[in-house]
């Protein structure tokens, strides 16, 4: 498999299609062993050990598997032995994120709407507090200068000031390369333009977005049917949920704010923008008048207060509302006093907490919350739960009393185990859109079929390679930078992904316009630059081209 991929790559190179400086790669070595006149350290130390590179199998993600093969070939090219370890998703996450037993790991990081606020990408993924087992700082990046910025941005309610801090943080990360930031993997979600209209793909979510599900409309009949290649786990907002679950829970349950199509939190069950006082430590929100739950009961300010207390008691989600100290209500208003300034409060708390009916959840003990089965899943959202049989279908119905009712009377979700099968169902007319990127051959079929179309979307999440900085030689910044110069980002997006997505060099996507710093250092594939970095870092090559530490390292 690897052999075939390498050949394909060489073919692309020979065709001169990439336009990158690639002529050097693949030349035979001369006297200095590395092929381009860079000599490296004069006296060599130990040879760089074989690196363990953990990557997804092609069954899990064929695009990323191909990318990993290309990267490994380049690493070998600059004199590093690579132990290429292909793993299934859960084994990969266990090894790379939980056990942190890897040298380099190629994984994706999803771009869900709440991550449009830069907090997750800046603080959670790179602050040294989060480098423990299962933490999001998988490389173990620890830089006090950086930590200070990551902490500062949380306390800056002024967006311009916060933007400046986030910009600086991005520059430091780009310089230090704890990870190679490779590409925002936008894509295409197929839909039947002959049967539905009003589609609204959004950043990071495509047709799975909340806004799409309430705006999509059948051209005939009253039902829109969507396909997704896996089943959802639960509709209980208090359970551990994966992204596909949240995409449905939020149709049934409202929040005070929702992340809008522009990526910013917009008032939803809240009547207006929050009133922020006390230097960003007090938020007051007024709720809309006349909201009801699906069972006809009024949604009152008491339900909102109950909800936030319920979250505080929840063993699973308590940490989400940790920052809230006290809550007060008055009339139709609720006031949150925060323990400390928390700039992403609206997006990451008010936009995440689902509103619960007290008359149903009021008697549930905290430890029972995640196992509680409300048979009718009563919320106040634009869709009502109708029926569900796992692996078969989930049926929702429009809640006509909602202040923003959906455009389809019924909404059905069909889970599958294979996107190719679902694409067949789309072609044969039994589903109307798919919330997943189809197999490469399907793209041509979309072009040929007048009834089908593809909804393009961009992503703020990305695929990246984490370097385990707890280990030698990844603690050496030149070594990491050299490895990043070996990642063919453009080739990955243009050829492997057939143009779907964009190359990135920063932890904040260029599609997240306000927060993205366009001037960070860039690492395009350049093996000469990689060798120069290694030389600067004091590494050297033996006569066989194998990379060594310098004797004085």
């Amino acid at each position: 498999m690897a052999f075939r991929k390498k050949n394909r790559r060489e073919f692309i190179r020979a065709a001169g299609a990439t336009g990158l400086a690639i002529g050097v790669a693949g030349c035979s070595s001369n006297g200095d062993g590395n092929g381009n006149g860079v000599s490296g350290a004069e006296e060599l130390g130990e040879q760089i050990r074989e690196l363990n590179f953990v990557v997804p199998t092609s069954g899990v993600n064929q695009f990323r598997n191909e990318l990993a093969n290309m990267v490994a070939a380049n690493w070998r090219e600059i004199g590093i032995d690579v132990d290429f370890e292909e793993l299934d998703f859960s084994a990969h996450v266990d090894k790379a994120v939980v056990q942190q037993d890897f040298d380099a790991s190629l994984l994706g990081w999803g771009g869900t709407p709440e991550r449009i606020d830069p907090h997750t990408f800046i603080y959670d993924m790179h602050h040294s507090d989060n480098m423990g087992e299962g933490g999001r700082n998988t490389p173990g990046y620890s830089n006090p200068e950086y930590d200070e910025l990551a902490e500062l941005q949380v306390t800056q309610p002024d967006e311009e000031e916060r933007q400046q801090t986030v910009y600086e943080a991005q520059e430091i990360i780009a310089r230090d390369q704890p990870r190679a930031y490779i590409a925002n993997e936008g894509g295409i979600h197929p839909y039947a333009s002959g049967r539905i209209t009003g589609i609204e793909p959004t950043l990071g979510e495509g047709l799975n977005s909340f806004w799409n599900m309430i705006s999509v409309e059948p051209l005939e009949g009253d039902t829109v049917t969507m396909g997704y290649p896996s089943e959802i786990i639960s509709l209980n907002p208090m359970q551990d949920l994966a992204t596909p679950d949240r995409q449905f829970v939020r149709l049934i349950y409202d929040q005070l704010f929702r992340i809008g199509t522009d990526g910013l939190p917009t008032p939803w069950a809240a009547a207006d923008e929050p009133e922020i006082e006390d230097g960003g430590r007090t938020y007051t929100v007024e709720i809309r008048d006349g909201m009801t739950f699906h069972d006809g009961e009024d949604l009152t300010i008491d339900d909102v207060e109950f909800t936030y207390n319920l979250y505080a008691d929840s063993p699973t989600y308590g940490s989400l509302v940790d920052v809230i100290g006290e809550i007060e209500t008055s009339g139709n208003e609720i006031t949150f006093h925060l323990e400390e300034e928390y700039a992403p409060f609206v997006a990451n708390v008010l936009g995440q907490v689902y509103l619960f009916p007290e008359h149903i959840w009021g008697d549930v003990e905290p430890e029972e919350l995640s196992d509680f089965e409300d048979e009718n899943w009563v919320g106040s959202g634009p869709f009502m739960f109708e029926d569900w049989e796992r692996q078969s279908e989930l049926q929702l119905r429009a809640f006509d009393d909602h202040f923003n009712p959906p455009n389809t009377e019924r909404f059905i979700r069909i889970p599958g185990s294979d996107v190719a099968q679902q694409f067949g169902a789309l072609e044969s007319g039994s589903i109307d859109f798919i919330g997943a990127i189809p197999q490469p051959t399907a793209l041509a079929r979309i072009d040929e079929d007048d009834d089908l179309d593809g909804a393009d979307f961009e992503d703020i999440g990305y695929v990246k390679i984490a370097y385990n900085m707890r280990r030698e030689p990844f603690d050496n910044v030149n070594f990491r930078r050299a490895l990043s110069y070996c990642v063919p980002k453009t080739e990955y997006v243009d050829f492997v992904r057939d143009g779907m997505g964009t190359v990135t060099h920063s932890t904040i996507s260029e599609h997240n316009e306000f927060w993205h710093n366009p001037d960070v250092e860039e690492f395009d594939e350049d093996l000469d630059a990689a060798r120069a970095e290694l030389e600067e870092g004091g590494f050297g090559w033996d006569d066989d081209g194998a990379l060594h530490f310098g004797a004085d390292q």
Partner: protein, 326 residues
Amino acid sequence: MGLREYVIRRLLQLVVTFWAFFTLLFVLFRLVPGDPTSMFILDGMTPEQREQRIAELGLDQPLHVQYVEYISQLLTGDFGQSFIYREPVIDIIIVRFMNTIVLMGTALFFAYLIGLTFGALMGWWRGSKFERGGIVVTLAARSSPEFWVGIVLLSVFVFWLGWFPSGGMRTTGGELGGGFLARYGSTDFLRHLFLPALTGAIVFMATPTLLMRNTMLDVLNADFIEIKKAEGLPERTVLYRHAARNSVLPIVTVMAIATGAAMGGSVVIETVFNWPGMGREMVRAVNSNDYPVAMAAFFLMGSVVIIMNFLADLAYVYLDPRVEYE
């Protein structure tokens, strides 16, 4: 040894087989890297949430403690709760198991009905064009991968002719749930059943056909067939009552094993036709480290194999009085 002792001894063997089977399952699943929280980590589960969940599930206990707990739970007939869905395993499995039984049962029924008849005729008309053509067809069916047969049927009957739906078990948007008849008795269900069952029938058909033909050839050379023919019995009677019946013995064993394997659901057929059966559920459970569901699914499938083998042994005794209890 009498029949009663034989059955008792075989039953005791069954118990040991079962114990070895689920102990092996238990250990295998625990050895697989990852745990039931792995799939949530990239979606935002924090290290504290993860630890708490692992403790809730008892996965922080030593392996032998987990093992003893699992076995004692199983002895009370309780498969436990799904680690991911947080619902009783039996509720999750039972519907999928029924869906699979209906699909695979139909496929096997037609595979063996057609296979036995076809195989018997091929043996009877040895050397004819019918036999030669039959062997080619059977071998072609036997060598075709399930997914390929499924995709060919889909291309012809769904995408080209538009006669059947592309997948699922019923037309979407209707009433869900219901009793056995409501689920499996409608013409809508039969339309959805046709192609996946046909795929299964084509794939399963080759084994009984070839086996039946071969044993028929042996039986036809036996003296008693000549005698029956000499008695002037009609050809049909000799074929069905004497030759075919005596050839059916090895088929019983193969059928028992095939039934067992089929009950696990064919992952491939269920995937190609999006059939909500055991195979798909098993793959999901294994991928997400949902041990209780995965174990129960393998347990059910293995149990059918073990029990079917047991029944095959008993059936031998009935079908062929020369078989002795040993």
